[in-house]
Amino acid sequence: MPQVFSKSANGVARFVVWATCAALLLAIVIGIALPRSGFVTGVGQAVAQPVPFSHKHHVGQLGLDCRYCHNGVETSSSAGLPATEVCMTCHSQLFTNADMLAPVRASLASGHPLEWQRVNSVPDFVYFNHSIHIAKGVACETCHGEVDDMPLTARAHSLNMGWCLDCHRDPQPNLRPPQDVFLMHWKPPDDIARIRRSLISLLDIHPETMTDCYVCHR
């Protein structure tokens, strides 16, 4: 009887078999890598804002303290955004008619708030509390990165659950004396390891309790 398939069929078959295996492998790799990549987490991607506010200028160059604008950070769950008035305390004197600041003046005049775009946000079912992190010596820059180098603010870390857990399981590497939490580019002293160990007991930090679900989900 005649051949159903030509000689090449075997080669094709072998190729198809191996190609399928390779494709599966690739799919797995992508599946693991993609959710952690900047495309998904938005790390390092500056967000367009109604006013191109520059932390680089205000913090890096003028040296404003974080708390000048984010005044809730030590006492409240949310760090808080500056009210238009706060901007105007200076900008009623400086750059009083810079076009860049028109929206701010408009806001004050009309009473309609400025609508900033979120840069660092977690889902609604995640309850992050700034005050406790500040109190326990987790610095601003630990999560928000070196904002004083950011002309336009961008997310510094993925802020996904895995990333949070890393620190909640072993906070020590991210601790510093609470009085230093607002410093940028903080240079750890040489005996930092000992300091951190003492901080754990001093600040009464219990990592074993910090991975309970309700710590973040309520």
Partner: protein, 992 residues
């Protein structure tokens, strides 16, 4: 939670968006609200409501409707959260508002005109939760269901949003214009032909203003319409003391209490304080502790009767006979009247009363006849308890009125009144059926209505003006004992509503009057510091009325016992415990909160005894026709063990025709059967069974404990003989376990619930709903067993069906240490925490519902449908009332009691910041905080001194279904009744 609200009028952007909406929009608005005509709708939505309008789903089935109504409209702040990715700061940050930190303000909520102090939690200016004010005598830190719902009614989008002229929206300016005209006319005529119809109020400011009005317009008439008014007490007091005095009971001093059809735990402005005092005398922890004893004679089952040690069910018309008998016996003119009560019972009662002497207390039912009140007063006097367990005060700030609605109607009928200003009341719905208010009001030249809702009266009136919600108002009021407190606003009026003070001022021709100024004026005695203190504490210091000495007229001041000879059924009218006269009918929380005894939701039924139902050959839901005088209504029956025979209990408040939520409910309108004469009790009604059945929705279908040791109870003597009675004849708790124990070396949260203290008032359930963003699901879903309450109060009957014992058992999550639910969850969505909480992680849950299947207590609730949206954009309106610290659960997710984990976390974070341990009593769960009787204790059972540890160490502490070895953290203290040994011993055995 994330975005920051700015309390400010709706941005103009909304209106443009609205225009697109309207094409599809107005249809659903019509369905949502029958009376809206498109033109009108156009105007008022445009004027008031862009935010809600563009959030309404395109088709409103009942459930989506509830989602919109369940808690209502969005403030400007919510348009801010509506874009999930954007975040909006203040323009001018209000002083001492820290975004993310709740603030608490003391204010006063009104209950039948009296004040009950409250502390309201506010998030960035949104009132989200009502707590009791510990410093206020009428609250003592406790709340009830209605107070909890205040925040919900505040955000109710059905509330009146604009003035209406002949039912058409009009500008407030025009309204003021006509008011000016009216005022000048009144000035001219000295108020001739004009009348003001007021609700019950104890506001000193209102009183001052009304008196001023009288002075200004001498011929102005003031009438009072209060459908739930009970006047008999005042009559009796007039007859006996010559002046209308108000009794204040001191249950903390009472040893033996006899309730003559009085529901002092569930009704009246003092109920929370009374419940606290009453239960405080029933905390038995050791054999030598003592306990008060409550005898109750009731014409309808109430929670007071359920709490009684000895209870008799009597026809309402027979209560007078009982009172007479009591009077006779105490007057030593033994059986002058043939007693209808079992002599042994009466003997035991009188013996106990006499023994208690000054510590005895006889309480008359406020709705009962003046004669019953007189007998009770006399009895107290004879027992020497006046001044000890009962004191009398001048009724606080009663606004002097020229009569009730009936009087007004006759005045209109004889044309002596042609202008009526209705302040708050809704006579067209709540008038007795023998008054033809509708026609009479039609004859008026001018009918002004002022109220929260566009209700029947509002739509009939020439002018309607929206009232401000009590959480939006400046006012003041007095508590049951006369203590004055200030009502301060939590939020600017959402719909530009006005307070009653502003309207009264307008009547007197002052249109610029500001409520705060008026109230401050009334309290000018207080200097600014005192005023601020009064605001902060929520009470005006030592403003309580002083008891007045009384001299009692002999032989009951001439009041006679009129034996009722009418045959046929007695009708006993009661106000629905939550909806009252129907004013709260649009609050879905209240509609869906099971009634304490019947566990009915979303509708009322005609309650009758098993015997009567048997005679009529009816079962639950069977329809009867009740004819009384000229009118008659159809109603489904609900068989209620312990209900007196030949009596039917009808509850007011249902059958509303207006209000998007109110109209979802089933049920009849009992006002149509009520006549001026017989406000609360009517004799000689004829009842005939009809064909067919109606759906009566209940959340508990089985009433008996089936011989299981669920509620373990005994008598006081039983307890003294055997303090460990809860362990008698019940399966032992296994001591061995296959698994090694986990040790909880930090906190170990636990709860103890004292069944002897629980009166089943449902305050805890309502508080839980408010605190934890629990969805309402509507009548249809409730009927399918989809209701969502995390905490339920089980009600069981035991003993003979005609005179059963009643038991209540609050059932939250038990937080089992060996939780069956956790092991079966395939995705780790419910796991244990280091402090022993049985945590439920909504965002991890995929809804296999295995945990619920495996929960022996069935305390888990499942979002079967999309009851409240997870997505901020559509959810908008609901968020206004939501607790920002609790996740809103999406469809397909299991949820349950978390021991208010958000509160635990908040306290822990605070403690951690301050580098200290959480102290005992710092964490208070919502249910515990609301409980009037302090039946619930919560704390860390690793702390030796903790209150919860003391409670759990009581000899009668037991865990529910402990034989399953689930090791619950929630345990119960067995129920102890102080039954009189001379009377039949009830409930000696530990099972139902």
């Amino acid at each position: 939670m994330s975005a920051i609200a700015d309390i400010r009028p709706i941005p103009t952007a909304g209106i443009a968006a609205l225009r697109e909406q309207l094409s599809s929009g107005h249809d659903m608005w019509r369905s949502l609200d029958e009376i809206a005509r498109t033109a009108e709708f156009l105007r008022f939505v445009e004027a008031e409501f862009p935010a809600l309008a563009d959030r309404l789903p395109s088709r409103l089935d009942r459930r989506t409707m509830l989602k919109v109504m369940g808690a209502s409209l969005s403030l400007a702040g919510l348009t801010a959260c509506s874009k999930a990715r954007s975040i909006v700061p203040y323009v001018r940050q209000p002083e001492n508002v820290v975004p993310g930190k709740p603030r608490y303000y003391a204010t006063t909520l009104s209950s039948d005109g009296f004040g009950i102090g409250a502390v309201v939690e506010s998030h960035e200016g949104r009132p989200t939760k009502v707590e009791g004010n510990p410093d206020h005598p009428a609250s003592r830190g406790a709340t009830d269901a209605i107070m909890q719902a205040a925040v919900l009614t505040l955000f109710d989008p059905d509330r009146s949003r604009t003035p209406l002229k002949d039912g058409e929206p009009a500008a407030y300016g025009d309204f003021l214009g006509d008011m000016a005209a009216l005022a000048s006319r009144l000035a001219g005529s000295g108020g001739l032909g004009a009348a003001v119809l007021m609700e019950a109020t104890t506001s000193p400011t209102a009183k001052v203003q009304v008196e001023a009005l009288r002075a200004q317009y001498p011929r102005l008439k003031i009438f009072r319409h209060d459908p739930l008014a009970t006047t008999a007490g005042a009559q009796a007091s007039m007859a006996l003391f010559g002046k209308a005095l108000m009794p204040v009971y001191r249950f903390d001093r009472a040893e033996t209490i006899f309730s003559l059809d009085a529901d002092f735990l569930g009704e009246g402005p003092g109920r929370l304080a009374y419940a606290r005092d009453f239960a405080a005398r029933r905390r038995v922890r050791a054999p030598n502790d003592s306990m008060n004893r409550l005898y109750a004679v009731e014409s309808t089952p109430t929670i007071t009767g359920a709490a009684a040690d000895h209870r008799l069910a009597m026809r309402p018309s027979e209560i007078e006979a009982v009172a007479a008998a009591l009077d006779a016996v105490l007057g030593d003119q033994a059986n002058s009247t043939p007693s209808i009560v079992d002599p042994a019972w009466m003997a035991a009662l009188t013996q106990d009363l006499r023994a208690a002497g000054a510590k005895a207390l006889v309480v008359p039912g406020s709705h009962q006849s003046a004669f019953v009140h007189a007998c009770a007063l006399a009895a107290n006097a004879k027992l020497g308890s006046v001044g000890s367990t009962v004191e009398f005060i001048e009724s606080p700030d009663e606004v002097r009125s020229d009569g009730d609605l009936a009087a007004l109607c006759s005045a209109i009928a004889d044309h002596s009144v042609d202008t009526v200003v209705v302040l708050g009341a809704n006579p067209l719905h709540t008038a007795p059926s023998d008054l033809d208010v509708h026609n009479l009001f039609s004859e008026l030249k001018l009918l002004l209505h002022f109220g929260l809702y566009r209700d029947e009266t509002a739509l009939h009136a020439h002018w309607h003006a929206p009232a401000a919600h009590e959480l939006e108002s400046w006012s003041d009021s007095r508590a049951y004992d006369g203590t004055a407190s200030i009502v301060q606003p939590l939020i600017e009026p959402l719909f530009g509503g006005k307070t009653i003070h502003e309207i009264l001022a307008a009547l007197s021709g002052r249109f610029d009057a500001d409520a705060l100024a008026l109230v401050r004026q009334t309290w000018k005695a207080l200097d600014d510091t005192a005023w601020r203190k009064a605001l902060r504490d929520g009470v005006v210091p030592d403003s309580a009325s002083k008891p007045v000495p009384i001299t009692m007229a002999p032989d009951l001041g001439g009041l006679q016992h009129h034996p009722v000879t009418a045959n046929g059924f007695d009708i006993r009218f009661v106000a629905d415990p939550w909806l009252r006269d129907g004013r709260y009918a649009n609050a879905s929380w209240l509609q869906e909160l099971p009634r304490p005894l019947t566990k009915l939701v979303w509708g009322n039924a005609a309650l009758m005894s098993p015997a009567s139902a048997e005679r009529l050959k009816l079962e639950n839901g069977g329809i009867i026709n009740i004819a009384q005088g000229t009118s008659n209504i159809d109603a489904p029956i609900w068989i209620t063990p312990g209900h007196p025979d030949d009596t039917v209990t009808l509850s007011l408040g249902f059958g509303r025709k207006i209000g998007s939520v109110a109209t979802l409910a089933h049920g009849y309108d009992a006002f149509r059967l009520r006549t001026s004469g017989a406000n609360w009790v009517a004799a000689g009604a004829t009842i005939v069974a009809r064909e067919g059945k109606a759906e009566v929705i209940t959340t508990q279908h089985h009433q008996a404990m089936e011989g299981r040791a669920i509620i373990r109870h005994t008598s006081l003597d039983g307890f003294r003989e055997n303090p460990g009675f809860v362990r008698e004849g019940v399966p032992r708790m296994p001591t061995e376990s296959l698994y090694p124990d986990w040790n909880y070396d930090e906190e170990a949260w636990a709860m103890a619930i004292d069944l002897s203290a629980c009166i089943g008032c449902m305050a805890c359930v309502s508080a839980c709903q408010s605190e934890n963003n629990i969805a309402t699901v509507g009548p249809d879903e409730c009927a399918r067993g989809h209701e969502m309450h995390w905490l339920r109060i089980d009600r069981y009957y035991s003993g003979p069906i005609d005179t059963p014992d009643l038991f209540f058992q609050p059932v939250p999550c038990m937080h089992c240490e060996k939780a069956p639910c956790e092991v079966v969850c395939p995705v780790n969505a419910t796991v244990h925490t280091h402090d022993g909480l049985n945590a439920q992680v909504y965002n991890r849950c995929i809804g296999t519902r295995y945990c619920s299947q495996n929960c022996p207590y069935k305390v888990r609730r499942f979002n079967f449908l999309d009851h409240q949206s997870f997505d901020k954009d559509e959810a908008g309106p609901e968020q206004a009332v939501h607790n920002p610290n609790v996740t809103v659960r999406s469809r397909g997710v299991m949820e349950k009691c978390t021991y208010c984990v958000q509160r635990i976390s908040a306290r822990r974070i605070q403690a951690q910041i301050e580098n200290r341990d959480i102290v005992d009593g710092e964490v208070v769960t919502a249910c515990q905080q609301a409980c009037p009787t302090r039946a619930i204790t919560f704390g860390d059972q690793n702390k030796r001194a903790a209150k919860v540890v003391q409670e759990k160490s009581a000899p009668h502490n037991y865990a529910l279904l402990e034989e399953l070895n689930t090791r619950p953290r929630t345990t119960y203290l067995g129920k102890i009744r102080n039954s009189n040994p001379k009377l039949a011993q009830l409930g000696e055995k530990t099972d139902g």
